[in-house]
C-alpha cells in the first residue's frame, strides 16, 4: 500500500514535470513553427481564415525560397512583388554570409583575448585588479544607443563606415567584457592544481594555458563563444546605422527592411527568417553538450 502510494506520487510528479516542459517547449517553439510553416505557403493562402495550422499540399510552394536565391518570380506564382522586395530579397543570402563572417571573427577575437584575460583576473592579484574588472563589466551596462553617435563619427573618421571590420571591432568591444566575466567565474571554480601540475611538468604559463587549461575549460569556453557569436549575429542597431551596402550589411538590417514598408510579404519574411535562424541553430545542435555543461555545471557559481 505504502509503496503504491509513493510510486503513485512519483508518477504524478513526473507527469507534472512533463506537462510543464511541454508547455514551455510549445511557448518557445510555436512562433518558430509558424514561421517555418508560413515560409512554405502560397502568399494568398496565408490570408485564409481559418489559417492553415497544418498546411496541405495544395497551398505548398517553394517560391519564396527560390525568389530569395534567384531574385526571379517563378511562372504562375501568387507571390507579391514590389521593387522593395526584389532589391532586398536578393540581399538576404549575402547578408547572412556577412553576418556569419562577422560573428565568427568576433567569436575568435573574444576567445583569443577573453581567455587569457579571464584567467589572469581569476588567478592573479595585482594593483587595482577588482576596480579594473568592475569598470570592464560596467561597460555592459551602457545601452548601445547611448554610444551610437560617437561610434558613428569614430567609424567615419577611421574609414571603417560600411565595412565588416568596423562592425567586428564594435561587436568585439561589446562582447569581450562579458566573455572575460564568464571565463573568470569558470576558472575560479577550476582546481588550480591542474595548472600548477602543468607548470611542474615544465610548461611555461602560456603553454599551460593552451595545453591544459583550454582543454579542461572547454565547456566554459564554448558557452562564452556562443554568447559572443549570438550577440554579434543578432545585433541590430549598429548594423543598421553603420552599414549601407551589401559589402557589410548584415541579416538583421536586411530582414528589417523586408518587414517594413506599406505592404509586407509574410511568406518572404518568413522564408528569410528561416534562413537567418539556420546557422545559429546548427551551431547550437553541434555544440549542445558543451553549451549545457558550460551553463549548468560551474558557471557563475563563485
Amino acid at each position: 500500500m505504502l509503496n503504491n502510494s509513493i510510486s503513485g506520487r512519483l508518477r504524478l510528479k513526473k507527469l507534472v514535470i512533463i506537462l510543464a516542459s511541454v508547455a514551455v517547449l510549445f511557448y518557445v517553439l510555436a512562433p518558430i513553427y509558424w514561421i517555418v510553416v508560413s515560409s512554405f505557403q502560397k502568399e494568398d493562402a496565408l490570408n485564409d481564415k481559418p489559417p492553415h495550422f497544418f498546411p496541405t499540399a495544395d497551398v505548398f510552394t517553394l517560391d519564396h525560397y527560390s525568389f530569395l536565391f534567384t531574385g526571379e518570380v517563378p511562372e504562375g506564382s501568387t507571390i507579391m512583388i514590389q521593387a522593395q522586395y526584389t532589391m532586398s530579397g536578393t540581399l538576404v543570402y549575402p547578408s547572412i554570409i556577412n553576418s556569419l563572417i562577422i560573428a565568427l571573427a568576433v567569436t575568435v577575437i573574444n576567445i583569443v583575448i577573453g581567455f587569457p584575460t579571464g584567467h589572469i583576473f581569476s588567478r592573479f592579484r595585482f594593483w587595482g585588479d577588482s576596480k579594473l574588472f568592475g569598470v570592464l563589466v560596467a561597460t555592459r551596462l551602457l545601452p548601445s544607443i547611448s554610444i551610437l553617435v560617437p561610434m558613428f563619427i569614430l567609424m567615419q573618421k577611421l574609414n571603417l563606415y560600411d565595412t565588416k571590420l568596423g562592425l567586428i571591432g564594435i561587436y568585439s568591444a561589446i562582447t569581450i567584457p562579458f566573455t572575460i566575466w564568464i571565463l573568470r567565474s569558470y576558472f575560479k571554480n577550476l582546481p588550480i592544481e591542474y595548472e600548477e601540475a602543468a607548470r611542474m611538468d615544465g610548461c611555461s604559463y602560456l603553454r599551460s594555458l593552451v595545453k591544459v587549461v583550454l582543454p579542461i575549460a572547454k565547456p566554459g569556453v564554448a558557452a562564452a563563444a556562443i554568447f559572443a557569436f549570438m550577440t554579434a549575429y543578432g545585433e541590430f542597431i549598429f548594423a543598421t546605422v553603420l552599414t549601407r551596402t551589401i559589402a557589410s550589411r548584415t541579416q538583421t538590417a536586411v530582414l528589417a527592411s523586408l518587414a517594413s514598408g506599406l505592404s509586407v510579404s509574410h511568406g518572404m519574411v518568413s522564408a528569410a527568417s528561416v534562413l537567418a535562424i539556420l546557422p545559429p541553430v546548427l551551431i547550437a545542435v553541434i555544440f549542445r553538450k558543451q553549451i549545457i555543461d558550460g551553463l549548468t555545471s560551474k558557471l557563475g557559481a563563485s
Binding site: P191, E193, E196, A197, A198, M200, D201, G202, V212
Partner: protein, 372 residues
C-alpha cells in the same frame, strides 16, 4: 652546503603569517617529512620550494644555486598533489608523457620511459584509460608514475595519500618507502623527497628525518625515532605518538637525597632524571609538566607502596594490546597500554607505576624539554 637550503623563509598572507623565518637543510637522497597540524604552514613551505608560491622574504637554494626567483617550470622538481591533479583530458599514457613532451624528448625515448615508469608502479595495463575510469588507488599510482618518469632534483609530495582509504594508504606507504630505497640503491642520481603530511604514522614510517612544523616554524628536525623518544618541547610531545603522551602538571622538589614529582596530592619518586632536571633548572624546586608515553605506564596492585591509586574508566582492546583510560580520585586522567592477557576490570582501583627512565620534564613556561 647542503643540497637544499631554506634560509629564513617567510610568507605573509593577508592577515596572517603562514611561514615565519623558517630554516631547513636537506641532504641529497634524504626522505624529509614536513609534519604538522593543518594550517601550520607545511604545505605553503612545500609550495615555496616548488615555486608555486613566492616567498615574502628568504631564499631557496638548491644544489648550490639560488632558485628563489626561478619560475616552477625551470626548477626541475616533480610534484604529486593532494588531489593528484591528473589531466582529465589526457590518457594515463599522455599524463605520464606530458613532461617529456614539454622538454622535447624523442618519441621512442618517451615511449620507453613511460612504459618503464608505468611498470614500476604496476599500471602498464591502464595506459590507454582516462583518469575518470580509474579507482582511487590507480589514480594515485598514475600521479606517482608521472613524477617517476623524470629524474628531478626533488620529489615534492603534498599529502599524496590523503585521498585514499585507510587500507590502501598503508599499502602505498610501504611502496613509497620501497621506492625511495630502490631509487637510491640502483641509480646514480639520487631521489630526494620532501613529503608533507599531518599523519604522524606516515611521518614516522617514511621519513629519514622529520621536520615538525608549528606556527610557521620548524620546532624539531630529527630522525623519527628521536622525535618519539626525546621530543624537544610540549608541542612535539603531544603531537607525535598515538595514543598521545600523558602530560601532567605538577612540581618537582628534592628532599633528603631523592626527588619527587608532586601533583594533585600524589607523589612520584623520579629517580635520576628528576635529579638532573632540577640541576638543569638550577633550583631547589620547580613547576614542570611531566610527560610519559602510555606504554611506559604499568598497572599493578595497590599494595605496592610506590604505586599511585587510579580507577580504571574504560578498557579498549586494540588487539595486540589494550588501551586503558584511568582517573585518580583527584581527577587526574591518564592513559596506558597493557597486555590484554592481564585481567583488569573497568571500575577497578589499580596501582599505577611510571617507568622513571621514560619520563620527560617540560618547562611549564617555555614548553622546552629540560633534558633534551
Amino acid at each position: 652546503m647542503s643540497y637544499l637550503n631554506l634560509e629564513k623563509i617567510t610568507k605573509n598572507f593577508p592577515g596572517c603569517k603562514a611561514v615565519d623565518e623558517l630554516d631547513l637543510e636537506v641532504e641529497q637522497g634524504e626522505f624529509i617529512v614536513l609534519l604538522g597540524p593543518s594550517g601550520c604552514g607545511k604545505t605553503t613551505t612545500l609550495r615555496i620550494i616548488a615555486g608555486l608560491e613566492i616567498q615574502s622574504s628568504g631564499k631557496v637554494i638548491l644544489d648550490g644555486k639560488d632558485v628563489s626567483d626561478t619560475p616552477p617550470e625551470r626548477r626541475d622538481m616533480a610534484m604529486v598533489f593532494q588531489n593528484l591533479a591528473l589531466y582529465p583530458h589526457m590518457t594515463v599514457y599522455q599524463n605520464i608523457a606530458f613532461y617529456l613532451q614539454n622538454i622535447h624528448t624523442s618519441k621512442d625515448d618517451i615511449d620507453r620511459r613511460v612504459r618503464q615508469s608505468a611498470r614500476r608502479v604496476e599500471i602498464e595495463e591502464l595506459l590507454e584509460r582516462k583518469p575518470n575510469q580509474l579507482s582511487g588507488g590507480q589514480r594515485q599510482r598514475v600521479a606517482l608514475a608521472r613524477a617517476l618518469v623524470r629524474s628531478p632534483k626533488l620529489f615534492l609530495l603534498d599529502e599524496p595519500l590523503a585521498a585514499l582509504d585507510a587500507k590502501l594508504r598503508a599499502g602505498m606507504r610501504s611502496e613509497f618507502k620501497l621506492l625511495h630505497r630502490s631509487l637510491n640503491e640502483q641509480e646514480s642520481s639520487m631521489g630526494t623527497f620532501i613529503y608533507v603530511t599531518h599523519d604522524q604514522i606516515e611521518a614516522m614510517t617514511l621519513g629519514t628525518r622529520v621536520a615538525v612544523i608549528y606556527k610557521g616554524k620548524v620546532v624539531q628536525f630529527s630522525p623519527p625515532k628521536e622525535l618519539y623518544k626525546t621530543p624537544k618541547n610540549l608541542f612535539v610531545a603531544a603531537f607525535v605518538g598515538s595514543p598521545e603522551m600523558n602530560l601532567i602538571e605538577g612540581s618537582l622538589s628534592g628532599s633528603n637525597g631523592s626527588t619527587n614529582f608532586e601533583f594533585q596530592g600524589m607523589s612520584f619518586k623520579t629517580g635520576t632524571r628528576g635529579v638532573e632536571t632540577l640541576q638543569r633548572i638550577g633550583q631547589e624546586a620547580g613547576e614542570v609538566v611531566l610527560g610519559i608515553r602510555p606504554e611506559a605506564v604499568t598497572l599493578g596492585s595497590t599494595t605496592n607502596l610506590d604505586s599511585l591509586p587510579f580507577e580504571i574508566l574504560t578498557i579498549e582492546p586494540f588487539g595486540q594490546t589494550n588501551f586503558v583510560r584511568l582517573r585518580s580520585e583527584s581527577r587526574v586522567s591518564i592513559t596506558c597500554l597493557v597486555n590484554p592477557d592481564l585481567s583488569f576490570k573497568e571500575g577497578e582501583i589499580v596501582g599505577v607505576n611510571f617507568n622513571p627512565d621514560c619520563v620527560h620534564y617540560f618547562n611549564k613556561q617555555t614548553g622546552e624539554n629540560v633534558l633534551a
